[in-house]
């Protein structure tokens, strides 16, 4: 049963002083740190007086262990965006994702779960497939698939529940946008949940492109689609260079 909290704890405020956070902010904006490894080393050096255990480094964030909880520290602006996204989606996507308890964008505090091995991932394919099918009804996700290389994005709780560890690219779906750019057909996930495939013309779409389309103003998108249809009627061939471009070749 859920316990009623009388006063919530802000563990970020308990652990990190203002100086520490300002230091992390400087590291993110430091142009001399040109790659992730350099930034990770800088962060670890900056936090060396706290009890920190380094866990892993990713594209935009790094994870450390402090007092039984995972701290996801952003390394760039995308990392900050991912942190906020995880914090905002954590409650609604339970129990399929790790719990993100606290966030200020720069740092997320999440639950610490067990990592899944490649063998365990392969053995749990059906279970994970069912989970992704359920999530796909309301969410758009990237880098969360049944491909073996994605096993690093999964873990399991002590009670055996499989959870997604990295869900910075998990977005609530806008079903109006889930249409093929070329023919307007409906998009569906492939068998591995890696790409979206048009049910009509079989064209493959990267979920990132769908996400970008979702972020554009909805009116703009509908307008574009109308213009495209009008051009096709006049016999113009549309060169599809991606959702942001509508070049034309021909008459």
């Amino acid at each position: 049963m859920a316990k009623e909290i009388t006063k919530p704890r802000h563990r970020i405020h308990e652990i990190y002083s203002q100086e520490k956070l300002e230091g992390l902010w400087k590291i993110i904006r430091n142009p001399t740190l040109t790659n992730n490894d350099m930034r990770i080393d800088a962060v670890l050096d900056h936090l060396k007086d706290l009890d920190v255990t380094f866990i892993a480094g990713g594209t935009n964030r790094m994870t450390v262990l402090i007092e039984d909880y995972i701290h996801k520290i952003a390394l760039d602006s995308r990392g900050i965006r991912d942190n906020w996204n995880e914090f905002n989606t954590s409650i609604d996507a339970q129990p399929y994702v790790t719990k993100t308890y606290e966030s200020n964008g720069l740092i997320d505090i999440a639950e610490y779960v067990n990592l899944i091995s490649r063998e365990e991932f392969v053995d749990s394919q059906e279970h994970i497939r069912a989970m992704l099918e359920y999530l796909a009804e309301d969410w758009l996700f990237c880098d969360i698939s049944l491909k073996a290389k994605n096993f690093v994005n999964f873990g399991h709780r002590d009670n055996g529940d499989i959870v997604i560890l990295d869900y910075g690219y998990l977005y609530p779906i806008d079903k109006k946008i889930m249409h093929c750019v070329s023919c307007g057909g409906q998009l569906k996930w492939d068998s591995q949940f890696f790409r979206l495939v048009c049910t009509k013309c079989r064209e493959k779409h990267d979920p990132i492109d769908i996400r970008d389309r979702m972020w554009k103003d909805e009116n703009d998108f509908e307008k574009e689609l109308e213009q495209k249809k009008a051009r096709e009627k006049r016999g113009l061939v549309v060169l599809n260079l991606g959702p942001k471009w509508n070049g034309k070749v021909g008459k």
């Binding site: 704890r9 802000h10 563990r11 405020h13 009890d51 039984d68 409650i91 606290e102 002590d158």
Partner: protein, 329 residues
């Protein structure tokens, strides 16, 4: 808990509540020291390096040693774990990643040495709290059901008063010693075994059989009554009803516990005694019913006989006696 206040509003954090212990205050760490708990909280769930894994397991096993001592033994500690009454911090037990190098350690049983050394590490791995007392192999003298009832009652009252889980262990000790003294009377087989043991002690002693040893044997025999006449199957009369001696002992113990405020009801008794008690109660019920019927008949008769003037024959006789003394009859 001290919290930093930030001038920059961008650093202020927001929280989610999942109904778990994230927002609860830290557990009491004064008994072991904050440093130890801090180190335990830095233990990862998986280690790639065998050396680091060993360090983590050594730290955990040392901590568990302390916990077990605090709870009064391995058996107690495991029981408290099952009942979710361990208030202290429970560490995560890490695993060693199965790499080419580590395979030799895993298959060569070096890893098992750590986990087997103290089987409480397995117990800590978040076992589900479905308590089966027989599985725990607890050597308690009274029935496992009765023990279960007792523990549930204690747990509820302990939780309600926020007493620490370790006090439950002390309470169980007290009850157990009470039962051991009252119920663990030796059977004929146990008496024979005990006598043999004493003889062996005498026979194997090559040295002089000291006074201390003789006196110790004397008190041992006295306390265990191996020469006495105690026979658990002996039929005796207890409060007007016949029981076997062992059954009467259990009933007497239950009544004594009830007097000091521990009322566990009929469930604490062994199956055999429970059957006997139920049978006796049923029989008593029949007897009581018969008596009641007779009493009713007697009353009805008096009413009819005396046209409702007298409830009992005694009252009628008394009045007649009065009249006779006054010379009215």
């Amino acid at each position: 808990m001290q919290e930093y206040v930030y001038d920059n509003p961008q650093f202020v954090s927001y929280v989610n509540d999942f109904g778990d212990e994230y927002h609860e205050p830290d557990k009491d760490e004064t008994w072991i020291g904050k440093d130890v708990i801090s180190q335990l909280k830095q233990i990862k769930r998986r280690y790639r390096d065998f050396g680091e894994y060993c360090d983590a397991m050594n730290l955990i096993n040392r901590y568990i040693d302390e916990l077990v001592y605090r709870y009064g033994g391995k058996k107690r500690f495991k029981l408290m774990l099952q009942l979710e009454m361990v208030d202290e911090y429970l560490p995560i037990i890490p695993v060693l990643k199965r790499t080419k190098v580590n395979r030799q350690y895993i298959e060569g049983k070096a890893v098992r040495e750590y986990t087997d050394r103290f089987d409480c590490t397995e117990a800590i791995k978040r076992i589900k709290p479905t308590v089966k007392f027989d599985d725990l192999e607890i050597d308690y003298s009274f029935s496992s059901k009765g023990f279960g009832v007792l523990l549930n009652k204690m747990r509820d009252s302990m939780k309600a008063t926020n007493l620490a889980g370790q006090y439950v262990a002390a309470e169980i000790d007290a009850i157990e010693s009470f039962y051991k003294k009252r119920l663990k009377m030796p059977t004929k087989k146990a008496k024979k075994k005990a006598k043999k043991k004493i003889l062996e002690r005498r026979m194997t002693k090559t040295d002089y059989y000291t006074m201390d040893d003789r006196i110790a044997d004397y008190y041992w025999r006295k306390d265990n009554d191996i020469d006495g006449d105690y026979d658990p199957e002996e039929v005796i009369n207890y409060k007007g009803t016949t029981y076997r001696r062992s059954e009467a002992d259990e009933i007497e113990t239950a009544e004594e516990l009830k007097e000091i405020g521990i009322d566990l009801g009929i469930r604490q008794l062994s199956k055999r005694t429970r059957k006997v008690v139920k049978r006796k109660n049923k029989k008593n019920k029949k007897v009581m019913k018969k008596k009641k019927k007779e009493e009713k008949l007697r009353k009805d008769y008096m009413k009819k006989f005396s046209d409702g003037r007298y409830e009992t024959f005694r009252s009628f006789r008394k009045e007649v006696g009065d009249w006779m003394s006054r010379g009215k009859i």
